[in-house]
């Protein structure tokens, strides 16, 4: 049997986390919910680590984060205005990151886009344009740092959050190389 792709495993573990959270609120199935949630988290740790180990596949790396954010947004109460806005913004930010990732693989197009970015250091990352990909990663690391400060997070959740944050740094480093290639630096 062919090895199951990382992408399938990402959707699998996030689905299990989702089912776990749902069953935790279902009379008589709370135990199943807890088992699914913990199993999903454990599989997510493996999947996110593997995504980082294969950082040249940036699309899968940020897809992992995007799928996780989508799950968090799905569970967020729209009446929790601050959290809902933050998660919605994160999802939109990664939508932009996907577009940037496609553009950077087209050097003539990316060279044109580069001209629209100010060369002031505020708008640069290691002298490369601070474009939508970098902005998504930077914003998300800040968001995760804020979540880590909240009370009530268990160790498994904390470990996964730290890995997700570290993956943003890995993603940015890999993306910088793509930018340098696109701009022939």
């Amino acid at each position: 049997m062919a090895q199951i792709g990382l992408t399938v495993r990402i959707f699998d573990c996030v689905t299990e986390i989702y089912r776990g959270r749902t069953l935790l609120d279902t009379d008589g199935l709370e135990h199943d919910g807890g088992v699914n949630y913990r199993n999903g988290l454990a599989n997510a740790m493996t999947a996110f680590q593997e995504a980082a180990d294969h950082a040249t596949d940036l699309e899968t790396l940020i897809l992992a984060e995007y799928v996780f954010l989508s799950q968090e947004l799905n569970f967020c109460n729209p009446n929790d205005i601050q959290a809902f806005a933050s998660l919605s913004q994160a999802v939109r930010s990664f939508d932009d990151a996907f577009l940037a990732l496609r553009t950077v693989d087209d050097p003539p197009v990316y060279a044109g886009a580069e001209n629209t970015h100010p060369h002031h250091y505020k708008y640069r990352v290691k002298d490369m344009p601070k474009d939508a990909f970098h902005i998504a990663c930077i914003s998300h690391r800040v968001r995760i740092r804020n979540i880590l400060r909240s009370p009530g997070i268990n160790m498994a959740e904390k470990d996964l959050l730290m890995l997700r944050s570290a993956n943003m740094t890995v993603a940015q480093a890999a993306y910088l190389e793509k930018q340098k290639t696109a701009l022939a630096v």
């Binding site: 399938v8 959707f11 689905t15 199943d32 199993n39 995007y66 989508s70 799905n74």
Partner: protein
């Protein structure tokens, strides 16, 4: 694979069986078992938007929740 909606009890049973398979070291069978439960509609939508409709079909997931929410022809839109 049959795409049908399931209640929480059925979904819980599928996951219990998948964990039994994982405990026996049969990881790929365990994952295949979990794909018998419907993929949540919002995740199916993400899969379609980011990976394409063909990927969704070939993923082997039960798409009943997505079909119920978005309509039978949702992958072609």
């Amino acid at each position: 694979m049959e795409h049908r909606l399931m209640n929480d009890q059925e979904i819980a049973e599928i996951y219990r069986e998948s964990h039994r398979l994982e405990a026996e070291g049969r990881k790929e069978e365990a994952m295949a078992k979990r794909r018998e439960a419907p993929l949540p509609a919002f995740l199916a939508k993400v899969m379609k938007e980011k990976l394409g409709g063909q990927y969704v079909i070939q993923s082997g997931w039960n798409l009943a929740e997505a079909e119920t929410k978005f309509g039978a022809n949702w992958l072609n839109r």
